[in-house]
Amino acid sequence: MAGKKIGVLAMQGAFLEHQQALSRCGAEPFLVRTASDLESAQGLIIPGGESTTIGKLMKLFGLDTLITERVKQGMPVWGTCAGMILLAKEIADSEQPRLGLMDIKVKRNAYGRQVESFETDLDIVGIGKTRGVFIRAPYVEEVWGEAKILSTYLGKIIMVQQGNNMLGTAFHPELTSELDVHQYFIDMA
């Protein structure tokens, strides 16, 4: 069986790391920069990076409405860090452009500046133990509606799933050698 075709949004950020992790899982990843790139995607990852940069570029090149439509039709989407911020309906203290698909409120740079960035061991519902790398990371302040909490760390929500097609992580599985979260997303697609 051929691997699933998973797109990685390549506006800005760590898109190549996701592409490599997906390849190692046996999927067929490719980079998404245009509307036609998006057409063949069976799933989409929005990578970590700068959420304001990615959000502005998505809007400027018209990808935001296309992605929103596809996700509403059921295409699986996973946002890591900046990607999760862009998926959130609410962003604390910010009016920045977003997709606004997940029933969550996120706080940007919630742990502080880069010197407060950290890595640690996590436990995720349905996945188990994994290593989490948090870079100027957000966390989820509130969930409602369809959003379900998959993991917390020291009382803060750091992974959320909504229905069977939306996933958000505050941390970066693509920066570790572990593939369990990527495999979990591929199975959703």
């Binding site: 390549a10 506006m11 800005q12 950020g13 760590a14 898109f15 190549l16 790391e17 920069r33 970590g48 990076g49 700068e50 304001t52 940069t53 502005k56 570029l57 400027l60 090149f61 860090c81 900046a82 910010s94 940007r108 740079n109 502080g112 500046r113 880069q114 010197v115 407060e116 960035s117 950290f118 890595e119 640690t120 061991d121 790398v133 948090f134 870079i135 100027r136 970066h172 920066l175």
Partner: protein, 294 residues
Amino acid sequence: MEEKGTFKVKAGLAQMLKGGVIMDVTTAEQAKIAEEAGACAVMALERVPADIRAAGGIARMADPTVVMSIMEAVTIPVMAKCRIGHFVEAQILESLGVDYIDESEVLTPADDKYHVNKYIFKVPFVCGARNLGEALRRIGEGAAMIRTKGEPGTGNVIEAVRHIRMVNDEIRWVSNLPAEELMSAAKEMQAPFELLQEVARLKALPVVNFAAGGIATPADAAMMMQLGCDGIFVGSGIFKSGDPMKRARAIVAATTYFNDAAVLAEVSRDLGEAMVGIDISSIKPEERMQDRGW
């Protein structure tokens, strides 16, 4: 177990900056323009390189008030420069909470032999390089990100091109050497042996490598991306131009769509005046910033 300041966490922020544009800014207002235009980070400075070059004298770390006002103005990462070897400027910048320190040849070196020991800091460092040996010496000292040096403050991309081509040539060469030739190659390139082995295995640098030093147009940025850089630093090129917001937006779009000539043509239109450039041969050897660093 929770760990801060690990190499993974330091290099990780550079990975998140990839495909983006880091812009030099000297005021909170400029920082807001950069953020609004889509910069993935800003470099807080007292003067942009073109003005440092024009002013002469000793260029030092920016006043903490300047750095802090820029940190308060934007939500994107803020970098700042310390002088080569000036570990106390680095300590001060770390205590201010900047997200990255650029140990930079743009400022006047504070030490004629040694760079900062970057391992003992929690804040990550980026350093300039003209060739693979220099890049690996900086990584060997703990740098978590590399950039080409180019020739800062000139608006002339030729030196940045020369440096990325040199690094790429040397990576290709090292990647094809039989194992027994690597030690002599390390000796010749003045590169740490273990890091050279890693480059040969990865066929790439072990950290992110941005372009810097002379990038002034969307086409310059896209050229550096097509040559294999991971992202772009623009120093004087934006705020020394006629329409900084428009040019900044265009360079951000050009860095994402670096392989799409139609987009590059569109964003390159009507940008107003670019910064005035300087021919490299007109710069006296002792005034060339790229030769600073050991």
